[in-house]
């Protein structure tokens, strides 16, 4: 069952009015223009016990993604492919409004948007994760942990997932004569990716569209549009989220804007990945 959220951070009337009058002048509280996302930084391999991991910051929003590979069974309808599983947690450490307990509808929505955006464009080469067709395959567990929430966990999480996937090594294994699979995690080969995907979120505040909303902007927003793009700029997923609605023309404009921003994300991520090795926490 889904119900109107009752536990939402409150934005004071005076701050709301202030922010909206700023937007009308084309300014945002953090000095960005409407099309510019926040800075991205990435640390790779922060969790030794995971097969791939990344700690990503998008402005003050922080997300940790851990990837684990386990031996399991392939799905009956895809006997020649490994299994992709995405789970996310809006951990109570991240916000006074996140509650402990099993993933709520927001966490489930986040997981499913990431899952679809990877699965439909075949971003991960699942064929390379088969061990014995129909019997044994790698299960690729992607666990997304939102650690600090200052708006837009969609984009931050997907950047984290992409960085973690690029950091993932598929362990070496040996099959014994009895068919047992012995894993050697000290050695492995990089996970094969077919395409890279990012999410681009925009917030609609009145008739203003802002890319990569921070928390204040999300609280002010009527609704948000989350779009998934590959590097060629093809739309590989969409999700409207929030209480409001869009006109047809707004949606077409948002697709156009968001595509441009997706290219910025790929560039910023690559820059962050280049700096990732030398970064200090």
């Amino acid at each position: 069952m889904s119900y109107t959220p009752y536990r939402v951070p409150v934005l004071s009337k005076i701050r709301s009015r202030n922010l909206i009058s700023l937007y009308k002048k084309g300014i945002r509280s953090d000095q960005r223009d409407f099309m510019t996302p926040r800075n991205i930084s990435v640390q790779l391999g922060v969790i030794d016990k995971a097969d791939g991991s990344a700690w990503v910051r998008l402005g003050n929003t922080q997300v940790l993604v851990g990837i684990k590979l386990e031996v399991g069974t392939p799905y009956r309808d895809t006997p020649n492919e490994g299994v992709l599983q995405v789970n996310s947690e809006l951990a109570p450490v991240a916000s006074p409004t996140f509650e402990p307990g099993p993933p709520d509808e927001n966490a489930i929505e986040l997981s499913r948007v990431i899952d679809r955006s990877l699965r439909d464009p075949k971003a991960v080469d699942l064929g390379s994760l088969i061990i014995r067709p129909g019997e044994r395959a790698w299960v690729l567990w992607i666990d997304v942990y939102v650690l600090d929430y200052d708006g837009n966990y969609f984009d931050a999480s997907m950047l984290g997932v992409l960085a973690a996937l690029m950091n993932t090594k598929v362990p070496d294994y040996e099959e014994t004569e009895s068919g047992e699979i012995i894993i050697d995690r000290t050695k492995g080969s990089p996970l094969k990716l077919n395409r890279r995907v990012v999410l681009v979120t925009s917030a609609k505040i009145g008739d203003i569209i802002l890319i990569d909303p921070n928390l204040d902007e999300e609280l002010l927003a009527d609704s948000r549009m989350v779009l998934a793009f590959d590097e060629q700029g093809t739309v590989v997923g969409m999700q409207k989220t929030g209480l409001g609605g869009y006109t047809r023309d707004e949606l077409m404009k948002i697709i156009d804007m968001s595509r441009k921003v997706s290219q910025v994300y790929f560039k910023l991520l690559d820059q962050a990945l280049q700096n990732a090795g030398s970064q200090q926490r």
Binding site: T4, I108, R112, Q239, T247, R248, I255
Partner: protein, 242 residues
């Protein structure tokens, strides 16, 4: 699991069920089908069949959910165990949780909740038979049930899913087109307000396809909403005659 059809179109460009790419399945709707609910509706798009019931505005069963300035909207989308090819466990899945959320967000913009502070308006949706497009048929059923319950709304909504199969954008996809097509794009809109309130894409599409699909969907939605109005009007007239 079904087997992928060898082709989705015949030599005349007709689909597996004989429709043209921009043709909807037969849409049927009926309101006031349940006695206990304050409002109810039964909607079918071809073989897809959905029942919606509305209770409220009434005191919320969970007090902590109360909002001081408006009604809370509760939406539950649920599939009956017999609605699918293989029996579906009645335990709610992640998919049903997500669909409940996006449907609530598709209805909130049209329900005038500030007229009923501190109350709950509950919408219960049961998918009785699933053949593609269940969330969009659910939006149509919910819109009718809310209106049938006399809940003030800014406008009626309706939904339809467009998709892409064998590189052709098609309207109102059925199950094989959903399972084996390249994309599924459900749309819910309030045509009288010019507002799109649910919009998702599951699959790969160019921006041109999205635009073509969206325009196709909006045209069909206007027609379904017209049918909703006729259905509601005739349900009211029947009572007056008695």
């Amino acid at each position: 699991m079904h087997v992928r059809p060898a082709k989705f179109f015949d030599e005349n460009g007709r689909r597996l069920d004989g429709r043209l790419p921009d043709e909807m399945r037969p849409v049927e709707m009926k309101v006031g089908v349940l006695r206990n609910a304050d409002g109810s509706a039964l909607v079918s798009y071809g073989k897809t069949k959905v029942l919606a019931a509305v209770y409220g505005p009434r005191e919320p069963s969970q007090r902590y959910t109360v909002l001081p300035d408006r009604a809370s909207l509760f939406v539950r989308y649920h599939m009956a165990p017999f609605s699918t090819e293989e029996r579906k466990s009645p335990v709610p899945t992640r998919r049903e949780t997500e669909i409940s959320k996006v449907l609530r967000e598709a209805l909130e913009p049209v329900v005038i909740t500030d007229l009923f502070p501190r109350t709950a308006i509950e919408v219960y949706i049961e998918v009785l038979q699933s053949d593609g497009g269940t969330r969009t048929a659910s939006a149509t059923a919910a819109s009718l049930a809310l209106a049938d319950a006399g809940i003030p709304m800014r406008g009626l909504v309706a939904g339809v899913a467009v998709g892409k199969v064998d590189n052709v954008v098609v309207l109102d996809i059925n199950e094989p087109e959903d399972n084996f097509g390249e994309a599924d794009m459900p749309v819910v809109a309030a045509p009288d307000l010019g507002l799109i309130t649910l919009f998702q894409l599951n699959g790969v599409m160019t921006a041109e396809d999205v635009q073509r699909g969206l325009d196709m969907a909006l045209k069909a939605i206007s027609e379904v909403v017209e049918k909703e109005k006729q259905t509601l009007r005739s349900s009211v007239e029947e009572v007056e005659v008695e």
